[in-house]
Amino acid sequence: MARISVAWANLMHERTRLMVAISGVAFAVILIFMNLGFMGALISTATNFYEQFNADLFLISPETLEISTSTAFPRERLYQIAGVDGVERTMPLYSEYLLWRNPETGVSRAIFAYGFNPNDPAFLMPELQEENARHILSRPDTVFMDRFSRPEFGPQDIGTTTEADRRRAIIGGTYFLGGGFAADGTLIMSDQNFVRYLAPRPLNLINVGLVKLNPGISPDKVAETMRSLLPADVDVYTKPGIIQHDSEYWLESTSIGFIFSMGVVVSFVVGAVIVYQILFTDIRDHLPEYATMKAMGYRSKYLFKIVLQEAILLAVLGYVPGLVAALGLYHLTTKATAGTLPVAMNGGRVIFVLSLTLLMCCLSGLISVRKAVTADPAEIF
């Protein structure tokens, strides 16, 4: 027969206390999941426009912090790697902030403008794939407007005429992209229009080099080859690589990472305090029994194990409903924000929060166990 599980029996005996403990742990788990979920969603909105770039490799300057804070580098770098095996085509991308004037209010606001050669398939948005789009983009002073731009930029209807950097601008088409954290809105225009708006900017300095590879070619290998060919004024990233590069910037160099990590820490402490309270009360109530066990010949190690088992049981029992509730809240959040805040669960986070919960409970167990271990069997006579 197996050893009697005192930990399990003690937890099950006080149903109300068990429910409170489980709710406490679940509450902390939900808070941690929500903080991580919001952080992940914000970071992914800050970088998910990269998915719409029709490229496998990205060349940027080492001084570029994220897409909107970039340093230009010579276009020759693209020519240098255009002949590498597996490269289908290379495309220069220009980017800069423009002042866009709201035609209704007359207020100007900074908008983020991309310039590219209309003959290059640089973007994947369906609106830019049509044959017509190429012609419209080639017209002078004509731009495409991002439908995800903030309403403060004014009407987004095709044919709207306004001013950008004191030059006439006509909206020739629209698309859906999103500007991430940095930009309130984006424009796409031909490289020729780009130099018109941003004169005296030369076209031989580019902000991002897009590299399309032949199908079935491993981007990592080609990137390795390119790094050996290119001088130090340019870095090569794969698509996941550049997303991570930008995410790290937002997480580490801005307050976003701090705010949500703080949320996780606070939730962790709240959970730990709840579990500590429950375990401490449980130990206090059973002190004569624990002391009796010591008198009978049980060692402190055994009592230690009981308390730790209770802690781990609470962690697991609280984690499962917490996870289920968090999945529900993720779904609710995504629906409530119409998909603009894509809160999604991933395997890494499931395991990370489980470990965090176990750590939280064991820590509380270790703090509260001192009372059980110091139970003096001589006191109960």
């Binding site: 027969m1 197996a2 050893r3 009697i4 005192v6 029996a9 003690n10 099950m12 005996h13 006080e14 059973h286 004569p288 029994e289 002391a291 009796t292 066990m293 010591k294 008198a295 009978m296 010949g297 049980y298 060692r299 003096d376 069997p377 001589a378 109960i380 006579f381």
Partner: protein, 262 residues
Amino acid sequence: MFKAQQQSKFEPSRDNLAVQIQRLNYFFGAGDLSKQVLFDISLELPKGQIVILTGPSGSGKTTLLTLAGALRRLQEGSLRVLGQELVGLGDRALVNIRRNIGFIFQAHNLFESLTASQNVEMAVELTGDFASKRQQAVAMLSALGLDDRVDYKPQSLSGGQKQRVAIARALVNHPKLILADEPTAALDKKSGRDVVNYLHNLSREEGCTVLMVTHDNRILDVADRIINLVDGRLESDSSLNAFVQSKTKDSLTDISADMFIM
């Protein structure tokens, strides 16, 4: 030199002693606040004896009991329990000694979350005997008249039944020494008598020694010996008859056990 001589003098009888206390002093507190509770106690309990420890409250009875049970550290003097000197033993060794002692407390101290049988099985688990722990527990509970309460939790047992479960837990491993502190205080006359009779049989059949602190006059008759402790000193150490005589100061020369069963 003197010490060696003394030891050799005691050697022959030592095998028959369950507890041997020599010149024991014990203090509570430390420094200026220290207060002596036991004064120069020397006592030998042979195997198989039932010894009752009486005395007014605060006389140090319970302290003596916890010292003999390896629950406190010795300060001055010598204390041998079941052939093992307790002075200078580490925590680990003290725990091992305790496993051979059955403790019966005034409060039952049962786990409310475990059934009667499981509470007793907790003691059997210490011996590592997992296969037959349930049988042993049930057998011991039955011997104490609890065969129909084996799977009840303490909250559905009466006070007397709870105390008997606690006693079953103390006795299930057949300890050679039983230390009991007011084991019958919470019991009615009949259950108290059953418990005492059981302890009596156990000591006769298995030769185990019982040291019991009690104020319960109803059970004095089972004692082979009654020790009176007053203010931390041994006041008297006598057989049952002598004790009763000294207390009653009557002309009775002999007494029957019946007079204590009221």
